[in-house]
Symmetry: C2
Subunit: 195 residues, 2 copies
């Protein structure tokens, strides 16, 4: 019995450690990607609102694609492309999968909407189990010249802030150029409960 | 012995469930606030860069405080104040603590830097244990008229996107108005490892 107690204690600790390092982490990443998907869904609505604004004002909607907040910042189209790539590559890198390629050849708001939808479709194919072990995975990319980040650091320090950086710049560019959007359009619906 | 096996099994499941719902969640929130603190630290550097730019160009640095990207968006000062409040209130609400009050009376970039530093100081007082049970905590605020969000939803759907929304708007406003900043100034240093 003494021996059994000790080995069960060990089993508890081992299962806890595994849960901490993989299972729970996997659920956490899955939930974070749920939020990323939600914001991408909102981005698609901003693109729709931009098109409606251009129609109402009788100007070519594709002018949005080249607008910038500063001459040495990405233009609108590349803000949207980079937001999409950040989400897509984060999911791929944290799960050890290959991300689908996109040619960055969007010429219209409709093309950009299709890009967002294609990334949403890709992200919809992930389950929590895909992110098991994500926190300790080694993540790298060509421009890092062989250096790597641990998955947990990569997600928190790189993927998440970059995703919000580019989606917010896309939103801010539209607001700066007359599209009627508000904070609710950024956040989307909230999971509120009645008292 | 049969009985012991069963009760140990139960103990394992209970400890796992507790770990999943509180302990690990607490660590996750603590790490997320680590990232929030990092971005706040970067925001303080952007404010410093804005002051240096104004000095180099011989204009009054306080003009930054009233700049807007759209006439119906918050001006720069309020973007910074709201980023600070979002971080401060998220930590307070998820831990059941009272947040320190700020009077929103900043008149200069230096005042805004002091605001950021004061929130960083407040956040430095938190440990992972403060966020135990955060995911299931009921979070509300006066404007929600009695409705509430669960802590996990509140953090992911509200606090985190709002924090990045306002910090990115502060950054974009400075970039739009000539301050020399780049993505590295937004992200701060990354936890890279040699191959």
């Amino acid at each position: 019995m003494e021996r059994s107690v000790w080995s069960f204690h060990q089993l508890i600790e081992e299962r806890l450690a595994r849960a901490l390092e993989s299972g729970y982490g996997a659920r956490m990443y899955f939930e974070m990607f749920g939020q990323i998907k939600k914001i991408l869904g909102q981005l698609e609505k901003w693109l729709e609102a931009a098109g409606a604004h251009a129609t109402a004002k009788s100007f070519d909607p594709s002018v949005y694609l080249t607008l910038r907040l500063a001459p040495d910042q990405f233009p609108f189209a590349r803000q949207v492309q980079t937001a999409c790539d950040t989400a897509k590559l984060a999911a791929a890198r944290l799960s050890g999968k290959e991300a689908p390629k996109h040619a960055d050849n969007e010429q219209s708001l409709e093309d950009l909407r299709a890009r967002v939808k294609s990334v949403l479709e890709y992200l919809n194919g992930f389950s929590a189990a895909d992110f098991e072990g994500a926190a300790t995975r080694h993540v790298t990319q060509p421009r890092w010249e062989g250096k790597y980040m641990l998955g947990a650091d990569y997600f928190l320090e790189h993927a998440l802030p970059n995703f919000f950086f580019h989606t917010t710049h896309a939103y801010a560019l539209l607001r700066h150029n007359g599209v009627s959007l508000g904070k609710r359009d950024f956040l989307g619906p909230l999971s509120m409960h009645a008292p």
